[in-house]
């Protein structure tokens, strides 16, 4: 009896160890690359830490500084939220529209697929510099054409009113990733559902509303959630666009203005860099990183909740 109990215990322990061994890559990865950085970020957000000397606890001073005294925080938060709402919405709508168009095209679909997908492969720095050249208010071909047509010529990356719309255009130009996943999901919609709807007298709009949308809704939610996370991390494009348009490369000992023009291209990830690596204020940088984390979680949770409700309703 005792021997049986011991052997059962040993077996259970072995099972647990085996399970733990199977889980260990995940545990290690999640611990090292998610839980540890997250815990460290929370920890340092309450510390005075310049990256060189030992951290010293300073209560909520970093939080107060970021929310009340750091002049770049609120403009950056507003810009980030603007980009999340506008860019993500437009990218999903535009990506779906392009996907729909390409699956309908009978001839030349391959060429259009390539044309729409190729910009996505362009490195972000090169793509942004090309856009800054095209949209240059003084010498760019876009404004030259607009001028010839007698249309207004915006300042694009040099004008705080137009800089975010210009970034939106850049994001829409690189729509290839969403186009591909939407195309795949559209081609996966069962044909017989369209035929049944057509027999029931549904027009194109009603077929889209009651057949296409319910079938691709998981992909829509996926595109929206990943879009929100990507846009929250938006760094390279606004940074390069602002730098190129401002003309301030930054010579020896020279400070580079963040968010040109007039802080309109400033995003939260740029603040993390500015505070952490230019001002040596790791604590305040961690506060901004945590704000980003909370916002990304909130948006993702909201979208997942809305998405699951949408799916349940359609089912």
């Amino acid at each position: 009896m005792t021997a049986t109990t011991i052997s059962r215990r040993t077996r259970r322990r072995r099972d647990r160890l085996r399970n733990l061994a199977f889980l260990s890559p995940w545990l290690l990865g999640t611990g090292l690359f998610f839980l540890y950085p997250l815990a460290a970020t929370v920890y340092f957000s309450f510390m005075k830490y310049d990256g060189f000397t030992a951290p010293v606890a300073n209560g909520v001073k970093n939080w107060q500084y970021v929310f009340e005294a750091y002049p770049f925080f609120w403009p950056a938060l507003r810009n980030t939220l603007w980009l999340v709402l506008v860019v993500v919405t437009l990218r999903v709508v535009f990506g779906l529209a392009v996907g729909l168009l390409i699956v309908k095209i009978k001839r030349g679909a391959g060429m259009f697929r390539t044309l729409f997908y190729a910009p996505y492969l362009a490195p972000p720095v090169a793509a942004t510099m090309a856009f800054a050249f095209l949209l240059n208010p003084g010498t760019g071909p876009v404004n030259t054409i607009l001028g010839r047509l007698g249309l207004p010529q915006p300042g694009w990356f040099n004008d705080p009113t137009w800089s975010k719309p210009a970034l939106t255009l850049l994001a829409l130009w690189g729509i290839g990733d969403l186009m591909i996943i939407f195309m795949a999901s559209l081609l996966d919609v069962p044909r017989e559902q369209y035929e049944a709807a057509e027999l029931d007298g549904a027009g194109a709009l009603r077929r889209f509303r009651f057949v296409t949308l319910p079938n691709i809704s998981p992909i829509l939610v996926f595109a929206a959630v990943t879009g929100v996370i990507q846009t929250m991390q938006y760094y390279t494009e606004p940074f390069v666009a602002g730098k190129v348009a401002s003309g301030q490369i930054g010579g020896s000992g020279q400070q580079v203005e963040p968010g040109y023009p007039d802080k309109s291209t400033l995003t939260l990830p740029q603040l993390v860099y500015n505070l952490g690596f230019q001002r040596f204020d790791t604590g305040a940088a961690c506060v901004v990183a945590l704000v980003l984390f909370v916002l990304a979680m909130a948006f993702a949770a909201l979208l997942m909740r809305r998405g699951s409700g949408f799916l349940a309703m359609e089912d």
Partner: protein, 444 residues
């Protein structure tokens, strides 16, 4: 199942705590107990990357090793600030002993956090008198609150570039010496063309490349901080005079919007499409490197160089300008600080080494002796900058513990004021002073 979850959570928490705990350790300070006469190898990090620059620094290192055969130098080039900060933080056997950086704005942090060793004891031991060796402006940007944790390794000096052909066509016989002469010349050299220009005398906007708040302000020699480290920008007469002067230039040359639109037609600052090199502007505030770039680009622009004009009520100080440059320091984590000091001393104070390096990379020598040396490049353009560097009124921006954030705060005031969004300058400067004090308090 629950026990397994608890085990997994416990293991994860242990891993996290271990890492969080290890992250809290700070860097230790190294001691200077090594024997500089012993056979040793030090590591030197620098940021130069162009082949000619890399060769020039290697030649300097070779000259050092010929003099100090027992100290071997492991040279690592093309190092960025982020890597420097990481290495200074971590220390270790592969970390640098000697570090040079182009970012003078970081000196305040390097000194206040003591990641760079204080060089004063080394200088005293070697009988190097810093005030007799280096111009005061250069000592200004290499120390913070009395801690001389770095030394200047060549400098960048700003002056006026002017197009001689444009001057001749406009009937201007000599470069301007006062700001009122400068303004009159800039207007004379400007030819409007509709809502743009066929030629602009000078681009005064703060985004006009080197025409920044701090570079302009040097003409008035401002006191950015009070002796106790508080922001002085709201009380300083220099800044109160500089901002309106710049705004008057903007208004006189066509207004902010028109100038900004014209500015967007400029090519990259550090390319052959620089507006002074293409003839889009007739005068420019720029550093000594521009002359080398003009020569290298093979453009046939007929240009001259002079000190930048000074305020009319300070005409006697004509010849001064803004100075910044590269800095070099010793990592406090280094356990070979005495050997490292021999190298730093050679790099920064050996006249022939400084002159050779300056000539090779077209930068301005950083010691009084090297500035006077007959071996310095005698090109007249280069010599104009040498004179600015020697001028006792030439000045710089002081270091701060937060990467020079106060300069951005002042730039912000400038952008608002030049564009007309800010009309009450005194109130804007008062707010800027409060912001600077808050930012510094956060950094300390």
């Amino acid at each position: 199942m629950h026990r397994f979850q608890r085990m997994a959570t416990g293991a994860t928490a242990a891993v996290v705590l271990a890492f969080v705990g290890s992250a809290c350790t700070g860097s230790t300070t190294g001691g200077a107990t090594d024997d500089p006469n012993a056979e040793t190898t030090i590591t030197f990090w620098h940021g130069w990357s162009a082949p000619s620059e890399v060769k020039a620094i290697q030649d300097t290192v070779d000259a050092f090793q010929a003099e100090f055969p027992n100290i071997h130098v492991n040279v690592v080039g093309n190092i960025t600030d982020d890597k420097i900060n990481q290495a200074l933080r971590a220390g270790g056997s592969s970390a640098p002993d000697v570090v040079s950086s182009f970012t003078t704005d970081n000196v305040g942090q390097f000194c206040s956090s003591h990641v760079f060793a204080d060089l004063t004891p080394f200088m005293e031991k070697s009988k190097v008198d810093p005030t007799a060796t280096f111009p005061p402006a250069l000592l200004g940007y290499t120390q913070y609150q009395g801690n001389q944790c770095s030394l200047p390794l060549l400098s960048d000096v700003y002056g006026l570039y002017y197009n001689k052909d444009d001057f001749k066509a406009a009937g201007i016989s000599a470069p301007p010496k006062t700001l009122s002469e400068f303004k009159a010349d800039a207007i004379k050299l400007t030819t409007p063309a509709g809502d743009s220009y066929s030629q602009l005398g000078f681009m005064p906007n703060y985004h006009g490349y080197e025409s920044t708040v701090s570079h302009y302000a040097a003409l008035w020699d401002p006191e950015y901080f009070t002796p106790d480290g508080k922001a002085n920008v709201a009380s300083d007469p220099a800044l109160a005079a500089m901002f309106p002067w710049q705004k008057s230039m903007v208004d006189a040359l066509g207004g902010y919007a028109k100038l900004e639109k014209y500015r967007s037609t400029f090519g990259d600052e550090f390319s052959s499409r620089n507006p002074f090199m293409t003839g889009q502007v007739s005068m420019a505030m720029d550093g000594e490197w521009r002359a080398g770039m003009i020569d290298d680009a093979g453009t046939n622009i007929n240009y001259g160089v002079a000190p930048f004009p000074v305020p009319d009520d300070q005409a006697a100080s004509y010849g001064k300008g803004y100075i910044t440059g590269t800095i070099v320091g010793i990592a406090s984590t280094s356990d070979k600080q005495n050997a490292a000091w021999e190298f730093v001393k050679f790099l920064t104070t050996d006249t022939q080494a400084v002159v050779n390096f300056a000539n090779a990379i077209h930068n301005i020598p950083s010691t009084f002796a090297a500035l006077k040396s007959p071996n310095v490049d005698q090109d007249p353009h280069f010599q104009s900058f040498i004179k600015v560097a020697q001028n006792p009124d030439s000045n710089t921006t002081p270091s701060s513990p937060n990467g020079g954030a106060y300069q951005l705060t002042l730039q912000d005031v400038g952008y608002g004021y030049e564009s007309g969004k800010v009309t009450d300058l005194q109130s804007a400067l008062q707010k800027a002073a409060e912001q600077i004090d808050t930012d510094i308090a956060q950094a300390q």
